[in-house]
């Protein structure tokens, strides 16, 4: 996955826009100064790949919108800043809101950063749409009733779905269980969700190893050795950064895959790096809200995947869908709010009211924001197969579930929902 070296902005100019087939929505052009959207995405380190994929999708969505007259006739401009650690990213948020005076902020991938950004954006009354990064206890604690911040689906959705699939297809086939989850908020919450669901559905199990590799660590030989010693029947791992392919290589070399079943709820971020020669078939594999090779994908998804391959000779992961949804939701909300007010550009409060409960056609199909500002999209997971068309593992049968069935309804805590909420395997 060779990326062009020129700065990302130049790439946009070069790539240009696929012929604008059908303009999304065309309303009376009200014209006016360009609409500025601030994008906060990681461009280095472990999450660099993911941030880039999201940015490319956002740019595609922007160019499509601009080609058909922008939003209410105003051309959209991006101000792109780098998401790094919480302290510096809040500094960039300040710059976007106070100096660049952007109309909306979209982005954020890491859960740690989102927990810090949420309260900061609320305080600054900055309309912010998160791509990713909101975990369970984080949101309950930091953004109980957000007004200006719209959160992604709960980060545990993929873990819940993977757990449900494991229970549905492998109940009775595993006794001992091991966890290898990245050592940060996201990893800890996913592992907790998996164990809670096993308890909820009365699956008798014993935890034989609980490992916490450092995020982005490059040497996992000790972790693989520990797993081999523990001899688990099932390994649940929400690893999702560059350390995942390394773990797979070293686990394959150690012969772990012959005896043990694996569930990877978030492997989608690294799907092109999980080559067939070290990724076995029959593993539970999560693609989150975008599976690029979904047989009956929407025309929109097909057009995007084709554009992505033509422009970058690569296949997108789910971050693209998250970025597209944030942009599409904002665009649709602004246009809807304008219609109610007779065509003039709506103010922030009006946009927010329209965003609450909005439903748009995103890359992964129907996607909407609930009244409590939590996103609700469609999740894709399945069992890996080797397909001659690709040198990396893709999905055999694909299970599709809406986030409604995978995350707590508004007003309920995560623990109550898992213990006695309505969940079907």
């Amino acid at each position: 996955m060779r990326t062009t070296r020129r700065t990302v902005l130049k790439v946009i100019a070069g790539a240009g826009v696929a012929a604008a087939t059908r303009p999304l929505f065309s309303y009376g052009a009200t014209g006016g100064p360009p609409l500025k959207i601030g994008i906060l995405a990681p461009r280095s380190g472990v999450a660099g790949t993911v941030g880039e994929c999201g940015l490319r999708a956002a740019l595609w969505a922007k160019d499509r919108a601009n080609a058909s007259g922008g939003i209410l006739g105003r051309q959209v401009e991006f101000v792109v800043e780098e998401e790094t650690n919480p302290k510096d990213t809040i500094q960039r948020l300040n710059k976007l809101v106070l100096q660049d005076k952007v109309d909306c902020v979209q982005g954020i991938v890491s859960s740690g950063v989102s927990l810090a950004m949420g309260p900061a954006a609320e305080d600054m009354k900055a309309l912010t749409l998160f791509w990713d990064g909101t975990t369970q206890d984080g949101t309950e604690e930091s953004m109980p009733h957000a007004r200006y911040v719209f959160k992604s689906t709960d980060n545990e959705c993929e873990a819940v779905m993977a757990s449900l699939l494991a229970i549905k297809y492998w109940r009775g086939k595993f006794g001992t269980v091991a966890g290898v989850n990245p050592d940060y908020t996201y990893g800890r919450n996913n592992w907790a969700a998996f164990q809670a669901l096993l308890k909820r559905f009365g699956v008798e199990h014993k935890v034989v190893a609980e490992l916490w590799p450092k995020v982005g660590g490059l040497d996992l030989s000790s972790h693989v050795a520990a797993l081999k010693a523990a001899k688990p029947d099932l390994v649940f791992s929400s690893m999702l950064f560059a350390d995942l392919p390394i773990f797979m290589k070293q686990a394959h070399a150690a012969g772990l895959f012959e005896t043990t079943k694996f569930a990877f709820p978030a492997a989608g971020w690294q799907h092109t790096a999980l080559k067939n020669d070290f990724t076995p078939e029959g593993m539970i594999f999560g693609h989150n809200t975008l599976y690029f090779a979904y047989p009956n994908a929407s025309p929109l998804q097909r057009e995007f995947v084709k554009h992505y391959w033509d422009a970058y000779k690569d296949y997108p992961n789910w971050e693209a869908e998250r970025a597209f949804f944030a942009f599409a939701a904002y665009k649709t909300a602004v246009e809807k709010a304008a219609k109610v007010k007779g065509g003039s550009f709506p103010d922030k409060e009006a946009i927010i009211d329209t965003l609450e409960g909005i439903e748009v056609e995103s890359l992964g199909g129907k996607a909407r924001y609930r009244k409590d500002h939590v996103a609700d999209q469609i999740f894709y997971q399945g069992f890996t197969v080797h397909d001659p068309k690709y040198d990396f593992a893709i999905l055999g049968n694909v299970e599709v579930r809406s986030a409604e069935k995978l995350q707590k309804p508004s007003g309920m805590t995560f623990k109550d929902w898992i213990a006695n909420g309505h969940i079907e395997v």
Binding site: G45, T49, W212, S221, A254, A273
Partner: protein, 309 residues
């Protein structure tokens, strides 16, 4: 070690010994990786009394160049089995980086250690962005190429042959470096300069040239190490900053300036991490810093270093 109950054979001593050996081997592999990073740092400090914070950056440079060299070589018809030589070529080729960097450091030899330390800190910042410019922000890796050499052993104790090769390379470097310093004329020259820069200069030792060679050798140890290890892992921008801390722990435990100390330090850190991961996951990195602090307090010179404070 928490043993499961439902599978009977897990309790018998044979499999306990096997998994112990397996963890041990994982630890030794990690120790080999650490030694390759620390050896360069140790050599440069031993002779020039400079702590090179950029040792991790040279290692990362070796890793990235290694990947490009292999990709290029395979594309130009090099048989898959010979990818190792492309790696070694890349690692050694980067010796070219040594002299210019040493020339830069030379401008501050006379001054306080703080200046040398900060100059290498500047190199960390510079090299990270140079890597970003050339290879982009995303981690690069060579897929499963290293499995081309297959695995060794059977059953629970199977290990990739390439891992053993890395361990062997580290041993080779350790022994080679030891012999070089003790046996060869230039080696003795280095140790003399290390002992006392002024008197060596008065005895006609061309100190400038010695420093250039030593720093370049230290650089090559880093870049070669990076290239050799990359097939089993990946090259990412953060490795240059993360590795510094572990290499630093190895050098402190082993004793500043002593190659033998680096070997022992690497084994200590490697094994500690391997067993901590299996038994006390929470304490993994914490345990290493505690040992570093304990060593710095009880034996400031480290296990093999010369008196320092």
């Amino acid at each position: 070690m928490r043993t499961g109950t439902s599978r009977s054979e897990r309790l018998d001593p044979f499999s306990l010994v096997i998994s112990f050996l397996d963890i041990l081997l994982g630890g030794v592999f990690h120790a080999a990786v650490l030694f390759l990073v620390a050896a360069g740092l140790q050599l440069v400090f031993g002779v020039q009394k400079i702590i090179n914070l950029a040792c991790g950056s040279f290692y990362a440079l070796g890793a990235y160049t290694g990947i490009s060299a292999v990709t290029w070589a395979l594309a130009h018809g090099l048989p898959r089995g010979l990818f190792l030589f492309a790696l070694i070529g890349a690692g050694l080729g980067l010796a070219v980086v040594g002299p210019p960097v040493e020339a830069l450091l030379r401008t501050v030899y006379r001054r306080d250690e703080a200046f040398q330390l900060l100059l290498t800190f500047a190199l960390v910042l510079i090299i990270e962005d140079v890597l970003r410019m050339i290879w982009g922000a995303n981690p690069q890796e060579l897929g499963n190429l290293y499995m081309h050499y297959g695995t060794v052993g059977k059953g629970a104790l199977t290990v990739p042959a390439y891992n053993l090769l890395v361990i062997a390379a580290a041993l080779l470097v350790a022994v080679g470096l030891g012999l070089f310093l003790k046996r060869t004329r230039f080696g003795r020259l280095l140790r003399a300069t290390a002992e006392d820069r002024e008197t060596s200069a008065t005895l006609g030792v061309e100190v400038g040239r010695v420093y250039t060679v030593v720093f370049t050798l230290g650089t090559v140890l880093g870049t070669l190490g990076g290239a050799l290890v990359v097939p089993t892992a990946a090259a990412s921008l953060d490795m240059s900053v993360d590795l510094v801390v572990e290499a630093f722990a190895v050098v402190v435990i082993g004793g500043l300036g002593s190659i033998r100390g680096a070997v022992v330090g690497a084994l200590a850190v490697g094994l500690m991490r391997a067993f901590a991961v299996s038994f006390m996951p929470e304490m993994e990195m914490l345990s290493i810093y505690l040992v570093v602090i304990a060593v710095l307090i009880l034996r400031p010179a480290g296990l093999f270093g010369k008196a320092a404070a």
